[in-house]
Amino acid sequence: MAEAGIDQSHDHHMDPATEYSSSKLGMWLFLGTEILLFGGLFAAYAIFHARYPEMFYEQHLELNRTMGAINTCVLIFSSLTMAMGVSAIKWGRQKTAAILILITIICGFIFGVIKYFEYSAKFSHHIYPDTSIFFSLYFLMTGLHMIHVFIGLGILGVIFVLTLKGKFNSKYNTPIELGGLYWHLVDLIWIYLFPLLYLIG
């Protein structure tokens, strides 16, 4: 049917170069809004930390620095593999790219598992989001971050399958690059969360 064709044609109305630069601009703008979303929590952190410095210091000792540090390393490593994956597909190496994306996904899962043990330890010590302002911040900031990790894993999962199917190559790889940008943001936010919550001194 001609009509069916009409509506389809609206989806591909740009040349590839414009489509690529548009998608990237769109993604950067979106990442900006993500930072603003976390910005509210960072602002709350700054205000309450200034108001209750002793409480923040004392209660942060309850957090498990080792686990936090391991998780930081895991995420930074995953950002590295993600960046390598993007480079690999730009050189046209589909298999290498797929493996690197898979490693990134596995790192994300490791992060989640470690975080699960951390949360369980808190709950077993009867520490909940309503325990204190500090733990409210701890649970909300890491919780919102965790939601982003899950979303990131979902995106990377789809990208991994599509890469395996050979949908991307050296010419067309925008989704991998955008997914990578998102994953780097998830990593970046954690890099701020770790010292703010675990390394108060």
């Binding site: 001609a2 009509e3 069916a4 064709g5 009409i6 509506d7 389809q8 044609s9 609206h10 989806d11 591909h12 109305h13 740009m14 414009t18 630069s21 548009s22 998608s23 601009l25 769109g26 703008l29 979106f30 900006g32 809004t33 993500e34 603003l36 979303l37 976390f38 910005g39 509210g40 929590l41 602002a43 709350a44 205000i47 309450f48 108001r51 209750y52 409480m55 909940y128 989001p129 309503d130 204190s132 302002i133 409210s136 649970f139 909300l140 919102l144």
Partner: protein, 537 residues
């Protein structure tokens, strides 16, 4: 994918395809614009009826029509629906969607699928809001803590609905920014862009920067109620004023999300019906961005009586006055455009002139409220209600109605009855002033807002305001009937009924599915009225 099947010489209007699925699954920006137009207009009518109910209660001093709790629910619903479901997405998403690609010479927005997804998210938000109606909140649309954290009405669902709507707003803004950057036709330089595009661009920037902050604020309120988080609860070491800071950091820029697109509409209507080039193009264009920038620095002027420090209050008061400058630049430039123009009083032009008149009153009374000493007296009185409605109805809604009448022939390919449209405008203009002008006096005399009852001495002004609301409602009713009957049996619209020079008028009405048969080559700005070029059109 068979997109080669469209022969270029066959004109297929975008409205041709029928059926529910062809609408809900469309990626055509013009159809998505209609989806927003219909949804937001319905919400406008619903919230308007709620307003009429409130005014009916206020006809007499006693609470005889609804009880005070119901009244609280009514003003909460009226405010929330009007703000989040009508005014924010109203002009920006409906006319933004329809006009941006047409005006910049593009076939669609940058991300058509994201565009329809944004609309679905809007629908999801409305569905959540409807669920919240089972036990509607009574907090006012601002959801101030500590009351919103303790009331036993369904604040969680309601704020979650608004949170979801925020996503729709963010994604639409993102789409429009990328579209304006990447999709302009060859020769459509930034300084040739129609002013509506500049206004939409400034609005989109605001949507992107402000909405995430209200998102996290409402999430925090939700965790306050569900997880027992205490950021806004003094008993747990939190601070209720923090909520106000967070909330207004979004909601004051949001005021400009509501008004700037209307300013863009006025900048389009006035030169066409004055047959003169717009005066001070760059000043109007950059003042949109100026308003957007300053709007982030004024939020605490909502909190002068909330217990902020004197220094902060003085700084915020000063910054608030600054907003008046870019706003006044626009008003003066519109008036300069009218000066010695050959003015045609088309119904759209009447709404534009109404905008200038009413918005100026709204803007100047805003300066009263920005002044510290005056605000202490006027805060939370009917003066604020009147000011806000002069800006929101006198400004945004006038702009919305003006846009509706102006682009109606282009959008639907039909003409409405112009005489009836003028009569409707008259009732709306008079009814609006009779409703809200007395409220300035009520406020100055000390009548606080948000009460179902009032002292008997205010009865004459209060009932006058209620009579005005009936005139206003009657005018809107005539307008709606006129526009709908135009759709059904109005005469066919020509491609360019007003001899406009802007790109969207150079194609058939309604536009073909692909907008432009060939992407136009732009050689001049769109405001060359009264010059030789006009004869060629």
């Amino acid at each position: 994918m068979a997109n080669h099947t469209i022969a270029h010489d066959v004109y297929v209007p975008f409205l041709e395809k029928k059926g529910f699925l062809s609408w809900i699954l469309t990626t055509d920006h013009k159809r998505i614009g209609i989806l927003y137009l219909v949804s937001t207009s319905l919400f406008f009518l619903v919230a308007g009826i709620i307003a009429l109910l409130m005014r009916f209660e206020l006809l007499t001093p006693a609470s005889d029509f609804v009880d005070p709790h119901t009244y609280n629910v009514l003003f909460t619903l009226h405010g929330s629906i009007m703000v989040f479901f009508f005014i924010v997405p109203g002009l920006a998403a409906s006319f933004g969607n329809f006009l941006i690609p047409l005006m910049i010479g593009a076939r669609d927005v940058a991300f058509p699928k994201l565009n329809i997804a944004s609309y679905w998210i809007y629908l999801l938000g409305t569905a959540i809001l409807l669920m919240a109606l089972l036990k509607p909140a009574d907090t006012g649309w601002t959801f101030y803590t500590p009351y919103s954290a303790t009331t036993n009405t369904d604040v969680v669902l309601m704020t979650f609905g608004v949170f979801v709507l925020g996503f729709s707003s963010i994604l639409t803004g993102l789409n429009f920014i990328v579209t304006t950057h990447k999709m302009r036709a060859p020769g459509m330089t930034w300084h040739r862009l129609p002013l509506f595009i500049w206004a939409s661009y400034a609005t989109a920037v605001l949507q992107l920067l402000a909405t995430p902050v209200v998102g996290i604020t409402l999430l925090l309120l939700i965790t306050e109620r569900t997880l027992g988080v205490g950021f806004f609860d003094p008993a747990k070491g939190g601070d209720p004023i923090l909520f106000q800071n967070f909330f207004w950091f979004y909601s004051h820029p949001a005021v400009y999300i509501m008004i700037i697109p209307a300013m863009g509409v006025i900048s389009e209507i006035i030169p066409v019906f004055s047959r003169k080039p717009i005066f001070g193009y760059k000043a109007i264009a950059y003042s949109s961005l100026g308003i957007a920038a300053i709007s982030f620095l004024v939020w605490a002027h909502h909190m002068f009586t909330s217990g902020i420090s004197e220094t902060a209050a003085m700084i915020f008061s000063f910054l608030t006055f600054l907003v008046a400058i870019p706003t006044a630049i626009k008003v003066f430039n519109w008036i300069a455009t009218l000066y010695k123009g050959s003015i045609q009083l088309h119904s759209a032009m009447l709404y534009a002139l109404g905008f200038i008149f009413l918005f100026t009153i709204g803007g100047l009374t805003g300066v009263f409220l920005g002044a510290l000493a005056a605000d202490i007296h006027l805060h939370d009185t009917y003066f604020v209600v009147a000011h806000m409605h002069y800006v929101m109805i006198g400004g945004t809604v006038m702009g919305f109605f003006g846009a509706l009448h102006f682009w109606y022939p282009k959008w639907f390919g039909k003409m409405f009855n112009e005489t009836v449209a003028k009569i409707a405008w008259f009732f709306i203009f008079v009814g609006f002033n009779v409703t809200f002008f007395p409220q300035f006096f009520l406020g100055i005399q000390g009548m606080p807002r948000r009460y179902a009852t009032y002292p008997a001495e205010f009865e004459s002004l209060m009932s006058l305001s209620t009579y005005g609301s009936w005139i206003l409602g009657f005018g809107i009713l005539i307008m709606v009937i006129n526009l709908i009957s135009g759709l059904i049996n109005g005469p066919k619209a020509p491609a360019n009924p007003y001899n406009s020079l802007s790109l969207e008028w150079q194609i058939p009405s309604p536009p073909p599915h692909e907008n432009f048969e060939e992407i136009p080559q732009v050689t001049d700005w769109t405001y060359g009225y009264g010059k030789k070029k006009e004869l060629e059109v």
